[in-house]
Each structure stands twice: as C-alpha cells, then as structure tokens.
C-alpha cells in the first residue's frame, strides 16, 4: 500500500500559531510536484504561497478555503506517485457511464484514458450529466448549499463529483480567484474582488483588473452557513475597506508584539557593538558598480549580509535554533532579512544558503525577496526557516540598532547607517566611511566572548571585500 502524506498548515515563523487557508491552488486529483504552490495562507502578517514538499496527487482536501485553523492541522492528503500502476481511486471500481472531462483537464495524469470519439464527447458534455454523482451525501450537501450539480466540475475518477467539489463550488461562488498582490491592492483600494472581472488564468483577478473595477456589488445572500465562520478576508466590500486595513494593521502589530514579548521574556539577550571601517568595501563597490546598469549594481547591504553569513561558519553558536532547552546548530545559513513593509509592519524572510552565494547572487536574491515581501508574494519556505536574522535599519538613517531576537533563533545582527567619521589609520587621522555593527545574541547559546569573535569575523571579512 502507498502511504498517504499529510499536508499540514505550516508554521511560517515563530509568531504564527494559526493561519487562514485563503485559497487552494489545486483540486483533488491534481498532480503536484515538489515546490509547486498548492495553497495560499494568510497569516496575520501577509498572504504566503505554500509549497508542497513531495511529488504526488492531491487525494482529498480536508480543510476548505476560508477556514482558520491551528498550525499542524492536516489540510489535505497527498498520495505519492505510484510505480505506474492503476490510477488511485478511493472508491471501489464499479460500472460507470463514461463521461469525458473538459479538455483543459487532459494534463491531469490521474485521469483514465478516454477513447470516445470527439462527437460523442461533445454530446456527453451537452446533456445533463446526471450519472456523475454516486454518493447520496454529495446530493444532500449540494442541496444544502444550494449548488446545481449540473454546473459542478467533477474531480473524482471519471469526472465523478465529490463532496469536496460541491464545497469548492460553493466557495468559488463567493470567493473570487485572485493573486495575493491583487488581494492586497483590492484591500487597499477598498474594492470587492468578487465584483471584478478577472483576466488572469481561470478568470483570476489580477492587480491590473482592479483599475477598471466597477463599484462593488453586495455579496450574494445565500452564503452557506458552513463557511460563514471564516475570518475577514482581504477582499471585502468597500464600506469595510478602511476598517479592514485597520484590522490587518492591528493583527500585524499584535503578531509582532506577541513574538517580541516572547523573545524578551524567554531569551536572555546580550548585546555587543563594534564600529567597522567600510573604506575597502565602499571603494570596491564603487569600482564594481562603475558603468553598470542599475539592475546589475550592488549595494553595501549585499557585502554586509555576505559577511554576516560567512562569519556564521566561524562562530556557529549564533546560527541555529534554541529548541526544548538546548541549542540546535544549523549547518546551513539561511539569512533572515528584516524587511519593513510600506504602510507599516515587518517581515523577516530568508535568503537560503546565503553563505554559499556569490555577492551578486545574494544581491539579486535580496532584490527579489524585498520586492516579493512588499507585494505579498512570499513563499512558505522563506518564512519558515531563517537561522539568523539581519536588520539594516541604517537605511532609515539611524546609526545603530540593537535588535530583538526572533525566537527560536539565537542571534540578530544589526547595521546602522554608513557615515563618514574621523578614523585613526596608521597613527594618522583620516575620514573614513564606517558602520556600527551590533549583535543581539542568546546567552543560553553563546556568551559575550564568542559573540565578540563573531562581530570581529564580520569586520575582518569586510576588510577584503573581493574575497566575499
């Protein structure tokens, strides 16, 4: 027997205890590959696209879109790909009039081969496909939700309509398909997504569609009771636009507050600070950027972050997690980047394996991450696993920042603004660009001596930028 994998509500950061399943991007019977985005989950901070971590076929969807569930809740079951045998079916085989599913579904690998000629196919689709429902439960459910079964797309074997299909139909009637960015924009603009004609795949609403968006219409009155208990979605009627924004702001502040309070309560922080001469780094950058188009240019942040990641190899006590009363060192350096969101709030997604990336790669990773963080298109893996975080608040003009560690991480590096300062070089006074680097570290995992070595390593690495 094949083991069915459970796809669970992921934890997208230590501040997340529960999440709202905003939207399924797949439906039962669909084949997925590792890395595919299968769902969009709303945390209190952002809508995150969730990837699947194994190949297989979506078996059934346990939690419908709109549900608010704790982290770890089974959302769906995924059947691993079987060694080219018969199609997986939960129901016993029994004689069925063959009904062909629409052509778009041809890519779904689980579908049994259909042999009917084209004309017959058309004819079958034309008539009311009464035999597509086998279970009485499905009919009962459809009746309860006020769904016309003839209009429902069947995802089961041979196009059979499952209970899940009925639920999905009910949900889609109320919930417009849309991209996370479109949702965010719609919320900002106070537009009801359901009132917008989508031009994206499958009629999905894209941000561009919002511009032409007409006045919102009231939501359909026949909303089924079973999905009524959903939390406020980013898309709501205009009257609630401002309220909605305020609520989301509040939710984000509460999430940040809860996490930071936990950090301050549980983590015995110690703080270190050092001033680093950035003259070699800035002149290297100037030479490197000369004549380059803006898309190819590097900023000082790329060098600073690379040094932070590399230094973790020298002092591994700062890179990892404090879990159940002991430090779990991480071999990989997934560098969390604190990104302030326009309009308020903070996210700290990771650049994976930052220590192994060339500076230019790290830079493009950084650009991409920032742009996706701000447009609400982060992926679950990025939110889940930073092993150390860096904040570059110097961008906002301050000279030094003493951070609060993101649990369960054990360290946070802060950089202030790069400023010109009098600096002693070989017994002479010079004016040099310098930056204040700070370390907030968990005393349970390391002590000031090791922390000092860590900051010193960052300093040393930055003196030879060409080696980074």
């Amino acid at each position: 027997m094949v083991t069915v994998a459970e796809f669970r509500m992921p934890s997208l950061g230590a501040d997340m205890d529960e999440g709202t399943l905003l939207e399924w991007q797949v439906h039962p019977g669909e084949t997925v590959r590792r890395g595919d985005i299968v769902a969009t989950v709303d945390t209190s901070k952002a809508a995150i696209d969730i990837e699947v971590f194994e190949d297989g076929v979506i078996d059934d969807i346990v939690v419908p879109a709109g549900s608010h569930v704790p982290v770890g809740t089974v959302l769906a079951h995924i059947t691993p790909p079987e060694p080219a045998a018969a199609p997986v079916s939960q129901q016993p085989e029994e004689p069925q009039p063959k009904v062909v599913r629409p052509k778009q579904e041809a890519t779904k690998q689980k579908e049994p081969k259909q042999k009917e000629p084209k004309q017959k196919e058309a004819a079958l689709r034309e008539e009311v496909p009464a035999p597509r429902v086998r279970s009485r439960m499905v009919r009962v459910e459809a009746e309860r939700l006020g769904i016309d079964l003839a209009a429902v797309h069947g995802s089961g074997p041979r196009g059979l309509i499952t209970r899940e299909d009925v639920k999905q139909a009910a949900l889609h009637r109320r919930r417009a398909r849309s991209s996370p960015y479109a949702r965010r924009r719609a919320s900002e603009l106070g537009i009801d997504l359901r009132s917008v004609a989508g031009s994206g795949p499958g009629g999905a609403v894209r941000a561009a569609d919002l511009i032409q968006a007409a006045q919102p219409v009231p939501p359909p009155a026949e909303a089924p009771a079973s999905v009524e208990a959903e939390i406020p979605s980013p898309a709501r009627v205009e009257a609630h636009g401002a309220e909605e924004r305020a609520a989301r702001q509040l939710a984000m502040r509460q999430a940040i507050g809860a996490l930071m309070a936990r950090s301050k309560r549980e983590i015995p922080h110690y703080y270190l600070s050092t001033t680093i001469d950035l003259a070699p780094a800035t002149s290297w950058l100037r030479a490197r950027n000369a004549g380059q188009p803006p898309g190819e240019q590097l900023t000082a942040a790329a060098l600073l972050f690379k040094a932070v990641a590399l230094a973790c190899r020298e002092v591994p006590e700062v890179n990892g997690f404090w879990l159940e009363d002991h430090f779990v060192k991480s071999e990989a350096v997934h560098l969390g980047i604190a990104i302030s969101l326009r309009g308020g709030g903070l996210l700290a997604p990771a650049i994976h394996n930052a220590d192994t990336l060339a500076v230019a790669e790290l830079m493009s990773g950084l650009r991409e991450l920032v742009s996706r963080a701000r447009t609400g298109r982060l992926r679950s893996a990025e939110m889940r696993d930073p092993t150390i975080t860096v904040t570059n608040l110097g961008e906002r003009g301050v000279e030094s920042v003493l951070g609060v560690i993101y649990p369960p991480q054990v360290a946070l590096v802060g950089f202030g603004k790069v400023v010109d300062r009098p600096w002693a070089v070989d017994g002479m006074l010079a004016v040099r660009p310098v930056v204040t680097a700070t370390l907030a570290a968990d005393h349970r995992a390391s002590d000031g001596h090791r922390g000092g070595l860590y900051l010193e390593a960052i300093d040393r690495l930055l003196q030879e930028p060409e080696e980074l």
């Binding site: 924009r185 900002e188 100037r286 950027n289 000369a290 004549g291 380059q292 188009p293 803006p294 898309g295 240019q297 900023t299 000082a300 942040a301 326009r342 309009g343 950084l366 650009r367 920032v370 742009s371 570059n392 961008e395 906002r396």
Partner: protein, 84 residues
C-alpha cells in the same frame, strides 16, 4: 524626451516601487528618497524602472541628480537629447 514625458516616466517608475506614494504631493525639489521613504534597494529599483521606461543609460554617477523630481527631469531630457 520632453519634460512632460520625463515627468510621466518618473511618476510611473515611482509608482512601481512605492504604490502608496501620491506623486502629485511630492515636492519636486526635495529629496525623493526621503519623501517617498525609499531605502537604497528601493532607489536602485526605481532607477532601474526609470532606465527601462526611458531607454536611457543611468549609472551610479547619476544618482544624486535622480534624487529629486526636478533633477531627474533635467537629467532625462538632456540625456535622451544627447543620445537621440
């Protein structure tokens, strides 16, 4: 490129990076980074957008001029004249 075209390109490039900023509310002679709260990455993306929209080559030496709307309009009008 005339000043109006340059201004439109700047407004569009800025909107792509900072959609929350009302272009007409900005002081054309004041620093764009400060007014629109752009960090260095945002600013780089802004310049990149601007280069794409106008087809002009913009490098690091141009950044000081590009940090105000007036400066950027001047730069873009002379630059696109010189090239075209």
């Amino acid at each position: 490129m005339n000043p109006d075209q340059a201004r439109t390109a700047i407004a569009e490039a800025l909107h792509a990076i900072a959609p929350d900023i009302e272009f007409d509310d900005l002081d054309p002679d004041e620093g764009l980074r400060r007014q629109a709260d752009l960090d260095s990455l945002d600013f780089l993306s802004f310049v990149e957008e601007l280069a794409q929209r106008t087809g002009s080559q913009l490098t690091e030496d141009d950044y000081p001029a590009l940090d105000s709307i007036t400066g950027a309009v001047n730069l873009l009008t002379t630059r696109t004249h010189a090239v075209g």
